[in-house]
């Protein structure tokens, strides 16, 4: 009878534990799903701007390529864009939650541990369930009987706590604490910006295309009109025209290629120069160029190059009126020019190739310089230009016009037969006497630095001098013995030096004999 009730109790316990597991599963499943849902939502916010970004990209593709298959983007409004933007995160959340639900199962131990923790049962229910499963699956191990009876006791012990566990009320699931990230919050305005950008592009593109269909004046025509007007009033309208010239021209508009156009433009520039004041500007330019060239000798290379550029620009502006008149002449008789070119290009090219600064000029300028019309002005002008350029760049480059022999690059010491002055001249050092070198030797400090020794000056080593001295005779004074009185005070503590053994024996014997003698005399007296 007792056994049968025990068996029923065991069955009851298993059923009760199953019920607890089922209940805990529902609770934990919903708790975990809620938790997971909130976490996934948090992640999904980041996906808000994915679709707007794609739309924006497609808009760009449509505008650049004009692909008609993407024309549906034109029909999308703000709300459609917003709705589609929400689609990706929603799909992401749904997918993740379903995936989590299908792949996340709560095991029995975890489920029962919920009640163990809730009621403070110290793992009694989970342990009993584990031991019950062990007993059912594996046959009793007779070798460790003591342990098995303890397992049975643990199962029996859990029975008393099943009823309270079944009646226990689980706490309501706490609301998930939102843990927003700044990045997550930023995704919302970014999404809105992307949508608005896509809409604006759509709008801009549609208006641009609609404008393209209506006829309009081309910029060249406008330019020509303005140029014509500028001939009348150059001072007031010039900056605007120059700004317009700087703008890139559309494809359908041809650039100023013809010589007549160039001539007009040059004329305009010349007019502007003239209007700025020929009387003073020319002088100032001359003065500046000369002063710059003199100053640039001491300036670093960058500064000198910038100074050169400025000088060149000024020179060009001065030469341009001449050039324009020459161009006009050249247009009139091109054949004459061609013959002149053939005769003079070779010499000009040779003279220019020696100058490095000229080779650095832009190709357009070089072409201008190589123009035979310029060379007609004669050698003197060219030489003057070169001199100025060399002056301005004298800080960097040697003046080859001096035709001095190059410095001796021999690194070895000169022979002893040469005079010192000759040696100095022959060496690379020049007058200064400082050695200039290349290669590895250039890494040696070229500036003479005086040696400095840290320390305090002293007399140096002590010198011992032995001197001979003749011995002096001194008189010896004898001290006479005198009777001294007894000492008033004690000497204090006197250390007794340890005597050697024979001395100790001697003293000992001495005192013993004295004592013996005294005793003998006493006995004799008695």
């Amino acid at each position: 009878m007792n056994n049968s009730t025990k068996k029923i109790n065991r069955q009851d316990l298993i059923e009760s534990l199953d019920r607890l597991v089922e209940r805990a599963n529902q609770y934990l499943q919903s708790w975990l799903l809620k938790n997971h849902f909130h976490q996934v939502c948090n992640q999904a916010i980041l996906l808000f701007f994915v679709l707007p970004l794609v739309f924006l990209f497609l808009q760009l593709v449509r505008i650049v390529t004009g692909f008609s298959g993407l024309s549906f983007l034109q029909s999308l409004g703000f709300w459609q864009y917003l709705g589609l933007s929400l689609l990706v995160p929603i799909l992401f959340v749904v997918f993740k939650v379903i995936w989590f639900y299908l792949n996340h199962k709560i095991n029995r131990r975890t489920a029962l541990s919920l009640f163990d923790e809730k009621l403070g049962l110290k793992d009694r229910l989970a342990t009993a369930d584990e031991f019950l499963v062990e007993q059912d699956s594996v046959k009793q191990d007779t070798s460790n009987k003591m342990e098995s009876i303890f397992k049975q006791a643990a199962i029996d012990d859990a029975q008393a706590f099943v009823k309270p566990a079944l009646s226990a009320q689980l706490d309501p699931i706490k609301a998930y604490k939102w843990q927003g990230n700044l990045l997550h919050y930023l995704s919302v305005p970014v999404t809105l910006i992307l949508i608005l950008l896509a809409l604006w592009m759509n709008h801009w593109q549609s208006t641009a295309w609609s404008n393209a269909e209506t006829p309009a004046f081309t910029e060249v025509e406008v330019e020509k009109i303005s140029v014509a007007e500028n001939k009348k009033t150059p001072e007031t309208t010039k900056p605007v025209q120059l700004a317009q010239l700087d703008k890139p021209l559309p494809e359908d508009v041809k650039p100023l290629q013809t010589k007549t156009d160039k001539a007009e433009l040059d004329q305009l520039l010349a007019d502007k120069k003239d209007s700025s004041g020929k009387s003073q500007a020319g002088r100032q330019a001359d003065a500046k160029s000369s002063s710059n060239s003199s100053n640039s000798s001491g300036t670093p290379s960058d500064q000198s190059s910038s100074a050169n550029k400025k000088n060149k620009q000024k020179q060009q502006t001065e030469q341009k009126p001449k050039k324009q008149s020459q161009q006009q002449q050249a247009e009139r008789n091109p054949k004459q020019n061609e013959s002149q070119k053939a005769s003079s290009t070779s010499g000009a090219a040779q003279s220019k190739s020696s100058s490095r600064s000229q080779s650095e000029l832009p190709t357009e300028n070089r072409e201008d310089k190589a123009d035979p019309n310029e060379e007609d002005e004669g050698e003197n002008e060219e030489v003057e230009d070169e001199d100025e350029q060399q002056k301005s760049s004298s800080a960097n480059k040697p003046n080859f016009r001096l035709k001095k022999p190059p410095a001796n690059r021999q690194m070895s010491m000169p022979g002893g037969t040469l005079d010192l002055k000759l040696r100095r001249k022959a060496s690379r050092g020049g007058k200064s006497g400082l050695k200039k070198s290349r290669g590895v030797a250039s890494m040696i400090l070229g500036i003479p630095v005086p040696d400095r020794i840290k320390g305090i000056p002293n007399n140096g080593r002590t010198k011992m001098v032995q001197e001979k001295a003749t011995p002096k005779q001194e008189d010896a004074t004898l001290s006479e013995a005198e009777v001294r009185a007894a000492r008033d005070n004690s000497f204090g503590h006197l250390q007794h030096p340890e005597l050697s053994p024979w001395m100790q024996d001697l003293i000992k014997n001495y005192f013993l004999t004295i004592r013996q003698q005294s005793t003998e005399t006493e006995e004799g007296q008695l």
Partner: protein, 342 residues
């Protein structure tokens, strides 16, 4: 039917053994508490180590009753007790024993082995860190193998055998800190602290009064051996075992469960012997809590005394004043039980 009958009887036997265990334990504790006042945790720790079959290291300043605790315990369980006062000039032969040349009645001489103080049931190794490493290592075999080997002679030590060592944390000059291998042999390290203010009056009355306090035997060697068997029989569920393993791994730097404090400040973590010690101690705690299986909470309660002497703090940790107790508390807080409910 027979199986069920056996199960029922077995469960009753387990209940009975568990009840007997608690009764004997409480009796011994009561007797020891007659001598020792205000050191309940230390007494419980020493008794737990004794019943779990381990050795115990007591650390505390002089005058807290460490030696008296061990002496009164030996009286309470009626076991032979020997005390070794370790000094720097002590040699292994002084504690293990040595062969002496003895003259017999007929005038002949023979070598006879004289057992040292290590051959006993309860050994009090007083100020163990004052002995040289050579002498300290003489204890290793006795503590682990429960035997001592002198020359060609091996002596099996009688059960129950327990070494209770004391060391003074203050006077470190002229001491030889115990090596890790020696420390690992101790089941637990107990810190003997100062008693409370309320305990002082009873301590003074008992020690300075006319009445002499005596300890009577509450148990004996056989009963202690039986109690040890009961402790071994307590089953450990999977989750508790897994938690003990995780806890020990949590003290090892660069392991999966190690928190940042361990990774930064620990040079050497606990060995698997630490996990064994955790389970044995947890079993005693489960029996004392009237349970028949170990729980995760039992292991948590055992973590501090069992693991604190098994951790070696690195230089950085020492310079920052990190203690082993801080590290263990951090590990216990960070390592989750396998069921994983927060």
């Amino acid at each position: 039917m027979n199986v069920m009958k056996d199960e029922t009887m077995g469960a009753d036997a387990a209940r009975e053994a568990s009840a007997q265990f608690r009764t004997t334990y409480n009796n011994i504790k009561e007797q020891v508490c007659r001598m020792m006042v205000g050191q309940d945790d230390v007494i419980e720790g020493v008794l737990t180590a004794l019943l779990a079959g381990g050795h115990v290291l007591l650390e505390g300043v002089p005058g807290l009753g460490k030696t008296m605790l061990v002496r009164s315990l030996s009286e309470a369980i009626d076991l032979p007790f020997s005390r070794i006062q370790f000094t720097p000039d002590m040699m292994p032969a002084d504690i293990q024993g040595t062969s002496l040349l003895i003259e017999s009645e007929d005038g002949s001489h023979e070598l006879r082995f004289q057992e040292g103080p290590l051959v006993s049931n309860l050994v009090l190794a007083d100020e163990i860190n004052r002995a040289t490493p050579k002498t300290q290592s003489a204890l290793l075999e006795a503590m682990q193998e429960r035997q001592i080997t002198v020359g060609k002679r091996t002596i099996k030590l009688a059960e129950p055998y327990c070494v209770m060592a004391t060391q003074n944390p203050v006077e470190q000059e002229g001491t030889y800190p115990l090596p890790e291998a020696q420390l690992d042999r101790f089941l637990m390290k107990l810190i003997v602290g100062y008693p409370k203010e309320s305990d002082y009056s009873s301590i003074l009355r008992r020690t300075t009064g006319a009445e002499e306090v005596t300890v009577s035997a509450a148990s004996n060697a056989e009963e202690i051996i039986k109690m040890r068997q009961v402790v071994r029989a307590v089953p450990v569920p999977e989750q508790a075992e897994a938690y003990a393993v995780r806890l020990v791994m949590g003290t090892q730097p660069a392991s999966d469960y190690a928190p940042s404090l361990v990774n930064e400040h620990i040079a050497l973590g606990s060995s698997p012997r630490g996990a064994q010690a955790l389970l044995l101690t947890a079993k005693v705690k489960a029996l004392l809590s009237d349970r028949f299986a170990v729980s995760v909470d039992d292991i948590k309660a055992a973590a501090l005394p069992v693991l604190r002497h098994r951790l070696v703090i690195n230089f950085q940790g020492q310079s920052e004043g990190i203690t082993a107790d801080q590290v263990i508390n951090d590990v216990v807080a960070s390592v989750k039980a396998p069921h994983g409910i927060d």
